[in-house]
Amino acid sequence: MSQNIKILPGATVCEDCTLEGDITIGGGTVIHPRVTIIADGGPIIIAEYCIIEEYSTIIHKKSDKQENPPKPLFIGAHNVFEVGCRLESSFGHIGESNVFECRSFVGVNVKIGSGCVIGAACNLTVTQTLADNTVIWGSEHHNREALEKQPSQLLQLDFLSKVMPNYHRLRKPNVHKRLPSRQSQEISK
């Protein structure tokens, strides 16, 4: 598999994690140690200000009807992936400000809007589309609609990006200028 990891300036990516395939990590995003991101079925683009915690797994799975060139998996800004969650999406797009709580599982055919919360240990396996601001919780997968998006984790991000370098080896940003295409939102210099 081709290794093509692009880390934008301002991103905090620990060395002790598995990154495979074509992955772009946006500025301000924090990736904890022991994270697995595998871009198997196409590139993965993680936008700005996401938190990806320990033992979470993000896989862009190869699908049967593979497009050529492969469709990228775009993960919007301000998403939080809590400890041990697993996302196996093959849809091209995950919205922003979602929270994937601890040990949650999102299967291949789940489309996720923005501001959704997938509760701790909730399993989404059936083909479905989560409308914006859907909250799923509990062993019975109750769901409700929140009025507004989940508050952003900017304070936490700030703290993590300050503290992480003191305790972990980090991967250095390797892209120093604005990307010519695809996501060209503001990138802190």
Partner: protein, 484 residues
């Protein structure tokens, strides 16, 4: 831990005949009997809020409808709500925007939020509060007046009925003039006081009954809205049955009408042996403490039996069963395995009654002991499987916390004892199963233990009680299912 997460493989027979695991049983040191939650007296010691740990006298608790005034439960998932702070920004509150910009100082505002389902008080439009606790808008029940009226009415009826009963009773006593003296001195004085009080309040109660207007059923019912059957249902906007019943006063139909519910109080309770009135458990008063002042649990007094392993039970065959016995007391214990039918009947010894005690009993009508006849029954013990109990006294050493670290078990030469280790003993036993045992049915065997018990209760000065006792307990061992 095993007692919390696993099924109860071993159940003890309580003196009332219930089968319970040892962790659910109590041991009365005064009666020297096993008791359980079913056959003891539960008393509420104090009310407190389990979230903020605030203590509340029972009168205040009743006034506040047994709810905490500062803690709330999530109306959506019933988890406790947490208070969250935000820095108020004019953007968040466009109506009061101008005022906020003027005094530029960032102001802390608070809202309630649920960490489980992420419900917030903002979801239903409750404005943020400037103080961290309290000040949340209270919603009044639209039917509060009617509910109060009903309450008054039923109270008045109860009062009236009580009064009538009292009058009847008094007539009865009047006929039996001979006893008047005794009752005058004791029971009736209280009743008479109540009587007088009742008379005084009977005026108001009769007015409550007279002024009461019963509900009227009306012919006309509001029409359903036009689009009732055609409108698409959005389940996310409709409350569930549980959510509605949780807020019994207003029973909101739409999720947008949910309100934080004041948290229900918890109680600390003490438990009392019904036979001797001694406390079995008494918690510490401080709500933050999980310790007990008195804690007479069977787990600390009765030998504990655990299954190590067993062979599958087959009809008409003898299979092996490995058990572990533990002595939880600080004294050496002699244990003997018996068949349940060999346990001697314990005759109810009537304790020598003193005059005061019998008088006290006669006054206290609630301390009627007829309950025991109603409650007590014989446990139905399984008979299909029988544990072959060798007739030998086994000695269990006392509990020694230091010996925990001593980890080489001593192997005994005896054919039933596998090993001993400080206060523990492993036994190899045989289970004989009747040929007629139904395959597929549960395999259960009953076993009785005779054990010596040293009572450490300081004996009463008058009657020095014997310190060493021989006690019996019966237990039922679950051995899976009977094989084909």
């Amino acid at each position: 831990m095993a007692y919390l997460t696993q099924p109860d493989y071993i159940k003890y027979v309580c003196s009332c005949g219930q089968l319970k695991p040892i962790t659910n049983l109590y041991f009365c040191r005064h009666c020297l009997k096993i008791r359980c939650g079913f056959c003891i007296c539960h008393e509420v010691d104090s009310h407190y809020c389990a979230n903020c740990l605030e203590n509340m006298p029972s009168s205040e608790a009743r006034l506040k409808k047994n709810r905490c005034s500062s803690c709330f439960d999530c109306p959506s998932c019933f988890h406790t709500l947490s208070t969250r702070a935000t820095i108020a920004q004019p953007r968040q509150d466009p109506a009061a925007g101008d005022a906020k910009i003027e005094n530029k100082q960032p102001k802390k505002m608070y809202y309630l939020s649920c960490f489980n389902c992420r419900w917030t008080s903002r979801d239903v439009g409750i404005p943020d509060q400037p103080v961290a606790s309290g000040g949340w808008p209270e919603r009044t029940n639209p039917f509060a007046a009617r509910v109060n009226q009903l309450l008054d009415y039923y109270k008045a009826i109860a009062q009236q009925e009580k009064q009538e009963k009292l009058d009847r009773e008094r007539k009865k006593f009047a006929i039996r003039g001979k006893y008047m003296n005794l009752t005058d001195k004791t029971g009736l004085t209280g009743a008479m006081a109540r009587n007088i009080a009742g008379l005084a309040s009977s005026e108001s109660s009769s007015s409550a009954i007279a002024n009461f207007v019963p509900s009227q059923a009306s012919e006309e019912v509001e029409e359903l809205p036009e689009d009732y059957h055609t409108q698409e249902v959005n389940l996310k906007q409709i409350t569930s049955m549980r959510q509605r019943l949780r807020a019994a006063e207003w029973q909101p139909r739409s999720a947008a009408r949910l309100q934080p519910a004041a948290r229900a109080l918890s109680v600390k309770r003490s438990q009392r042996c019904r036979a001797c009135d001694h406390n079995l458990t008494k918690p510490e008063y401080n709500p933050g403490s999980v310790k007990f002042k008195i804690e007479l649990l069977a787990y600390y007094h009765v030998p504990e039996v655990k299954i190590i392993s067993y062979e599958t039970v087959k009809p008409g065959e003898t299979t092996a069963l490995l058990l572990k016995l533990t002595n939880p007391t600080a004294h050496e214990m002699q244990v003997r395995l018996l068949q349940p039918q060999d346990v001697p009947e314990v005759e109810e010894r009537e304790e020598p009654k003193s005059i005061e005690k019998s008088l006290e009993k006669s006054l206290n009508l609630e301390k009627d002991s007829s309950w025991s006849k109603v409650l007590q029954r014989r446990a139905a013990l399984p008979t299909a499987c029988a544990v072959r109990a060798p007739d030998a006294a086994l000695t269990l050493a006392q509990r020694d916390d230091a010996a925990e670290y001593d980890d080489d078990p001593q192997h005994d030469t005896s054919d039933i004892i596998m090993w001993r280790k400080s206060n523990k003993l492993a036994l190899r036993l045989q289970v004989a199963t009747a040929a007629g045992a139904a395959p597929g049915g549960p395999a259960r065997a009953a076993l009785a233990l005779q054990y010596s018990y040293r009572n450490t209760v300081p004996p009463a000065a008058a009657a020095p009680a014997p310190r060493d006792h021989t006690l019996y307990t019966t237990l039922v061992i679950h051995l899976g299912t009977v094989a084909e």
